[in-house]
Symmetry: C2
Subunit: 196 residues, 2 copies
Amino acid sequence: MILFWQRGYQACALPDLLATMNISRSSLYASFGDKRQLFIECLDLFFQRTFNPLCTPPSPAKISEEFAGNNINHSLNSIEHFFRYTLLQVPKQRRECGCLLVNTVLEMADQDSELSAFAAEKLSHVEQYFIECFAQAKSENAINNDASAEELGQLCMTLNQGLRVACRQGRSQEELESILHNSLRMLGIQSTREQP
Amino acid sequence: MILFWQRGYQACALPDLLATMNISRSSLYASFGDKRQLFIECLDLFFQRTFNPLCTPPSPAKISEEFAGNNINHSLNSIEHFFRYTLLQVPKQRRECGCLLVNTVLEMADQDSELSAFAAEKLSHVEQYFIECFAQAKSENAINNDASAEELGQLCMTLNQGLRVACRQGRSQEELESILHNSLRMLGIQSTREQP
DNA sequence: TCTATTCTGAACTGATTGGTCCAGAACTAT
DNA sequence: ATAGTTCTGGACCAATCAGTTCAGAATAGA
């Protein structure tokens, strides 16, 4: 999965995959069918590992440490935690891979529309969760923005996709943090940021 | 260029390129060196065709027709015109290709860092122009946003990149228009939108 | 220890990759 | 018309691609 994440689908040759997985060619075909099916399983695994930190943020105790009680709304904390957890609190090497689902949507769009649609569908689940978070926040009057929850969710996903491109561009941690901070602010999520 | 734009670098095989360009194999190598150099020329061409409508928007007369005099600031009009011209007023088939530079950054990041950096550098010129527009607008008090011009420009580029991903995802014209409208509104650019 | 099942390494396939080469066609200038 | 330059089609190359096959190693159960 990490190799696909780093290089993309087409650029991963069978020998590279076999060496990384440390199994033999025949084992791969026996276990996964072929390269494409292995890739689909990787997309699924990636989605699970990306989605989990979004819909199950850390415990309230940990939140109060992390965010210093600045944002008491649970739904908005989910979103902020998602970005902090997957964008900032991540080793540089992995951050610079961007998002496997975004990468796949772009790479396979004209090549294998089924794979591209598969990845896009996973992303839509994330967007749907964004929307639910904003809807919840709006019902609690915890957000300062008059756009609808759908619009905020779409915008949040657009910013997320743009940030993943920025990651793969090799932008510095500081730049990403600045962009993220301004993004969340414009969405109406007042984020904490340590001042230097 | 269009073929690279649609399929990406790696997925364009020589025979496909030759058939599309309607030249022979030897002519391609005589004229462009090799596939990679041809691609670099395409990136450059794409940048020029993308950047021109940004820094040379239509004449004031045309603007007044197009935007109904809603936004009298020239710099902000440049940005709005850029998005309208490259995102909305474009045939579906081409819109769904996204942005060749963004696509290239993602595809080549771990594969050919030189190509990826080349595309990223082109994108940074666009971002720089965004920043200049926002700086101009701020100096004329034409923008309702207390973030700095640099921050606004970075955010604008992040939204742009996110929108290009959304294009390649196959989002509908209506969705894109909605996202763009909200994006510009949050950046402080009050865009006109025909109400249905 | 013996048998039965599973797994694996390496050789092999046919197709495709980017790139080279050159004889001859097409064109230009005199 | 002729000589000189440019262009082109197609054959060719070695390398690599994803995928198949199978004898033999490794493992398991009894």
